[in-house]
Symmetry: none
Subunit: 195 residues, 4 copies
DNA sequence: CATGAATGAGCGTTCATTCAT
DNA sequence: AATGAATGAACGCTCATTCAT
């Protein structure tokens, strides 16, 4: 008797809220996305959102926690490895994959920095980034080489979204971005090492 | 007879609005900065803002137009130069200077991309960026080299703000960022050219 | 346990908003009646109004639609009748009754023409009036007779409100107005027909 | 050296304000016409309006006083005449002319009754109307005949504007309206008289 | 598992008006 | 004869949030 739609909906409302919310957050920004809008798209009431999440911010936090777990794991793993070039290149490659897998979230993070900064996930994200940086950077390295590493990170982040405007096969673009990032990290490593 | 404060205020209110607005926009984001807040800081009423600007957006537009003029000029100049390596390096160096001169504005632009995207300055900014890109990139160059150029741009942008957290002399940091960016552009040029 | 007042309020807020709104709109005009005023009279917040209606205009539209339904029906009915004198007299009589039944609304419509003109109900109202006119007027009739019919309509409308200032039994006044209107329509019919 | 425009403007600003104001008041209504709008059309500042008039209401009052003088005179004249049918017919005819001469003002008065009611001109207008009514109506006349006279008045007023939508020569339409109004007054007179 | 009804705070904007110059 | 600069009050509207049912 139940429509398939209704059956599908049973029990997965929480997930559906997260999906729609992320979509809208990424598309329009956090502030400009209202709970009313999210609720309307899901064909539930605003109050229903509050059954599943305590606040608007909590919705975002839950999305962030769910989708950025692989990256957290990656960083945890990386911290325990020796700071060899191979490790660094590995990290860069895996990070590139992780970013691609959770692209909408990271697009959101990049485009809403001002907002995110004083939300709970702001601190979380910053901590992760610093963790990543510490894996890639040798603290006694040349300042220029340190910048190279940071630059590699930004290349991965921004590359993702800015290059979407460009023509061409997305996989090829990602490969190119990865190559440049790897290059930067390798140059930095050689600099620190080489003397 | 008049207090100095009052004298200072005569005639420069428009400028003072822009200053305070930019400060708050950069600090808290565009959406989270209310006109009430701006007005209170200036010790005028909200309505006074509307004497000088037609809308909230107009305040931002006026700031953008005033502060980004040097960059517009730079791009205009660059477009008329031959696409040699020297030109590119020159552009990168000058762009770095221009960014530093209007740092709060560009910090704002970077941290409020989602918001800015559907404001008038969104289009303006995008157009400028594409202009810059077209100066640095050779269209028939390798995809990887194209990414290098875009990466150089982002390094300049992001480097500015992320490296503020780091220890050390700001001028030295800017020099390091500039070096990495120049490097990237040079590598890209050689790639396109050399083969 | 609940106060009667509170019980009364449950579920009929929408209706109460319409009632108070119409009262104030008719008394002071649409523009000069603020949502704050309506809300205060009902002892709810402005935001509560927005739970029940999307905009201020929507409140008015809903009132109009609810109260002018009988007239819409009357016109629909009239359009399907033969254009005999009896039909016309019937329409006039019934229209007079319908106007009396929704007097505050029509008083409002008459006294706020400039405002109503660029609201959604402006068009609706105009359409209805033209429908009525087409029932009463024979298109090939003498211009003077056409005016008589329009005049009959205005007599009904205006009579309602202007004659309130006058002394005397309201029912008698309505009867007098109706007689004059019927007279005008009859004269017009004879003119068109007779010769 | 001066442009003709500027020369024309010398000294007649007050008049120009009235002209533009009436135009906008009639077109959009009193409330929806802001002083900013009037000032902009005249290419002066809002403050300039306040040099010539004390308040927004004063602008309207001055327009009303200037344009409705002929009607005031007409009523004054009428009050001193014997209440014969000829006088009444004369009044109706002359009133019709006067209305046509100041059409925008009377269109405004009709479409902004709710607003005008609590402005100074509200009282003035009402007084005039009652004066007119007292000329046309015999107090001991039948109620129906009294309604006929009021109806004649409304026919003149409304006819003016509603019939603009209709096809045909404006002068002919005015003549038709006048005929109906005269008719109504004559019938009323005969009724009162005849017995 | 969710809704219906409401709130309090705040927002961007507009308005008629004032007054020193 | 008019402007430049500002004000105070209000307005329509939206938002995240709450809570009894």
């Amino acid at each position: 008797m139940d429509s398939t739609k209704q059956q599908r909906r049973r029990g997965d409302t929480r997930q559906r809220i997260q999906d729609v919310a992320l979509e809208l957050f990424a598309e329009q920004g956090y502030e400009k996305t209202s709970l009313r809008e999210i609720a309307e798209r899901l064909d539930v009431t605003k109050a229903a959102l509050y059954y599943h999440f305590k606040t608007k911010e909590e919705i975002l936090v839950s999305i962030f926690e769910d989708l950025s777990r692989p990256i957290e794991d990656l960083i945890a793993w990386g911290s325990r490895q020796p700071h060899t070039l191979e490790t660094k290149q590995d990290i860069v490659r895996r990070y590139s994959e992780a970013l691609a897998a959770a692209a909408p979230l990271f697009r959101f993070m990049q485009e809403n920095q001002a907002t995110v900064r004083d939300l709970r996930i702001g601190e979380m994200f910053k901590t992760r980034m610093l963790g990543l940086r510490d894996i890639l950077i040798d603290p006694e390295a040349d300042l220029v080489d340190q910048v190279r590493c940071v630059s590699a990170l930004f290349t991965l982040h921004a590359g993702m979204f800015v290059l979407q405007d460009l023509e061409g096969d997305p996989e090829k673009k990602r490969a190119a971005v990865l190559e440049v990032a790897t290059d930067l990290v390798s140059q930095a490593h050689r600099g620190a090492d080489g003397s």
